[in-house]
């Protein structure tokens, strides 16, 4: 699934197509043909570029609008026991409702702290030291809090996965024997679903973290570990593949120059296999985000997965719309994460063919 940047090494004039979408060739419409070829006015290249971008967006926008239209038409046809399936408007309203709840929760939190301050001031004034309280607001997490929690959890899980997968992948790529040794283990552990890992990880973490007030909440650690276990495989495999496909000439050069293993690693192996590593990491992040939502539902980590499960348990007439809104948010965040990784991959892969 590596994106091919078919770009001659010496040419620097053509910028790489960062979006990765099929680039539109310059439209040969009448206006462009009618323009004078020499000395075009300064605004025109910009206008042409804007037009090019707009046309690039045209088909995706058409696709999205068609989907929304189909959704709005078909959803009322499906009658579940919770009412008809929500259409785009109901889901948008649910989103607005969630924002309203967020705003209300912020107000409640501010009021709580103001009241605590007031009662503390009164207590200090009357000399009643025991009545001074220093409580944190204990309301339920808002939708935005839950998004942040999910992002933090996936970040930890992904970081752990990368730290584990890259060294192992490098070793597997460089040593055929090591690769043969770990290959059966990798193939067996790769297809295991996150919900199958969850009980094992829960038992282990519950046994290991025994303090009543740990640094990181248990649910957070459990979710991050499950994300790690499921998402390290793409990075591992891609790193191994990338490392093993280093040009043999380069390795021979290293032998001739008698490079130490550290120099060999940093000057030969890593630069050559970085594009593969980043491809693997991009896949891993996608898998990790998917796994996280599932893991949170049972591990009780207060993120988007728990939001969806709690709404399902509510079973109210609003529940389906809110769940769908959360699904859209989950998808959008996954898309954004993918774009971020793709940008990083682009930075790393300049001047390289994969």
């Amino acid at each position: 699934m590596a994106t091919a940047y078919a770009q001659p090494l010496s040419d620097a004039s053509e910028p790489a197509d960062k979006t990765g979408a099929a680039s539109m060739t310059a439209p040969t419409d009448d206006e462009a043909a009618g323009m004078p070829a020499e000395k075009a006015p300064a605004g025109n290249p910009l206008a042409a570029k804007v037009k090019e971008q707009a046309l690039a967006l045209l088909w995706p926008v058409i696709g999205i609008l068609a989907f929304l239209g189909a959704w709005a038409l078909l959803a009322p046809q499906v009658d579940t026991s919770l009412g008809t399936l929500p259409g785009p408007f109901e889901v948008a309203k649910a989103g607005a409702g969630l924002y309203g709840e967020y705003a209300a929760a912020n107000d409640a939190e501010a009021a709580f702290y103001a009241q605590q301050e007031a009662s503390n001031a009164a207590a200090r004034a009357s000399g009643n030291v025991a009545a001074i309280s220093d409580f944190e607001y204990s309301g339920s997490p808002t939708f935005l809090d839950q998004i942040l929690t999910s992002l933090k959890t996936v970040a930890l899980g992904f970081a752990l996965a990368t730290l584990l997968a890259v060294p192992i992948g490098l070793m597997a790529g460089l040593s055929k024997r090591f690769n043969a040794a770990i290959n059966p283990l990798v193939q067996i552990m790769k297809p295991v679903s996150p919900l199958a890992w969850l009980p094992i990880v829960t038992m282990v973490i519950s046994a290991m973290i025994t303090s009543a007030d740990p640094l990181l909440p248990k649910a957070f650690v459990i979710s991050a570990l499950v994300v790690m276990l499921c998402s390290l495989w793409p990075t591992l495999i891609n790193t191994a593949v990338g490392t093993s496909s280093i040009d043999k000439d380069l390795l021979n050069v290293g032998k001739v120059l008698r490079l130490g293993w550290f120099d060999k690693l940093t000057k030969l192996v890593l630069p050559a296999s970085l594009p593969y590593i980043f491809t693997g990491m991009r896949l891993s992040l996608g898998v990790g985000w998917m796994v996280l939502i599932a893991a949170e539902m049972l591990a009780q980590n207060p993120g988007l997965g728990k939001f969806v499960w709690d709404e399902f348990q509510n079973g109210s007439s609003q529940s389906l719309a809110r769940i769908m809104f959360a699904v859209i948010v989950i998808g959008l965040i996954g898309f954004l994460l993918d774009r971020v990784m793709m940008a990083l991959q682009g930075l790393v892969s300049k001047n390289r063919t994969v």
Partner: protein, 479 residues
Amino acid sequence: MTPTRHIKGHFSFDRRGLIAAVLASVALAGCGASADGSGENVVAATVDGAIEKPNLKLGFIKLTDMAPLAIAKEKGFFAEEGLNVTLEPQANWKVLLDGVIAGQLDGAHMLAGQPIAATIGYGTKADLIAPLSLDLNGNAITVSNKVWGMIEPGLPKDAGGKPTHPIPASVLKPVVAKFKAEGKPFNMGMVFPVSTHNYEIRYWLAAGGLNPGYYTEGDVQGVVGADVKLSVTPPPQMPATLEAGTIEGYSVGEPWNQAAVAKKIGVPIITDNEIWNNNPEKVLGLRKDFAEKNPATTAALLRAIIKAQAWLDADGGKNRKEAVEILSRPNYVGADAAVIAASMTGVFTFAPGDTREAKGFNIFFDKYAGYPFYSDAVWYLTQMRRWGQIASDKDDQWYFDTAKAVYRPDLYLAAAKKLVADGKIPADSVPETNGFRGEQGGFIDGVTFDGSKPNAYLAKFPIGLKQGQKVTAAGVTGG
């Protein structure tokens, strides 16, 4: 409300009893009552001192009877007692139980059977206690439209054309036989192997002559010899599984019965108040070591919840509407307000158009609802033995010892008496008792229950394990 001062127990005023009573009143600080089923009244524990742990996290499941916790938070009762409590909904009963045992939750809204099962080692073994009962009643059994259509024509009707209540399970016998003739199993759902809903539906089925199945040792399926197969389904999934036809009925707490009515996918056939009048339902579950390490915190927690319970039942239910609004918020029960109100405001809807008065559908404070009677724990233990979850016979003393290890009325009394002293609750809402209710009636099959004679009680049932019987995969043996 008649104060039950005539509690029949074993009030022995002989010298032995008197000395024991004196010793018991000297023993302080949550040691609990004496070690047998005899007559000394429960003595309140002594709790003094500052709150050890003001920041608490309590777990709950999205059912209407978590109301005391939500009210205690929203109406400021926790804050009044100096506590900062976070309420966190849990995915299911197993996750909630594990959360309390592992320490992530300081306490939880629990099924009455959970601290009992944990203490006797059925499931994860842990020392849990129940210092307070959250409510009485609050459950119902709902059957699918298909089954209702099969039995409704044959039901005896009253003058208004509505079926007379209570409807015994014997009306299901022809339906079960029909399913069997077609080679299909008759499945019903409940929420957890040690849940009150499980014991109530089993009681109702057995009272109607249907066998709900036995548990072999260490097994959680419980379908040996069953006419009706019971399976565990999480409450929110029950309406969906009922619609899909995977189960033909379920026993669950509110709002899931009224949710089925609102969605027109099922009909409640009987409430648990009709199976056993004023039965104990959920409890507040805590770890035993939590209560020992944090006695003042536990007392403050109980005081706040008792105040919430009193608020819920105040003035014949004037606060219930506000309670419904609070519970319908997405971070509490989250169901539509109309569905919650259908069971919280003194009425209950059965078949479409059949809404009846049900003043006692859920009781939070009246009739000593909060007091954790030992006899309630003994009832649950007898039902666990009746169906084989307790694999072998135990003598009466074992029942009493287990009940006293788990249910802690001494802690309840410490909190309640302080509230009485402060004038927050009336003095006659706190019973003077040895922890046993005495002989209780109000069961659908007419059998009476005396908590001080568990083995004699077990012998009264036509369906259920008898003395000396055991369950194997092949069936019930011995006896």
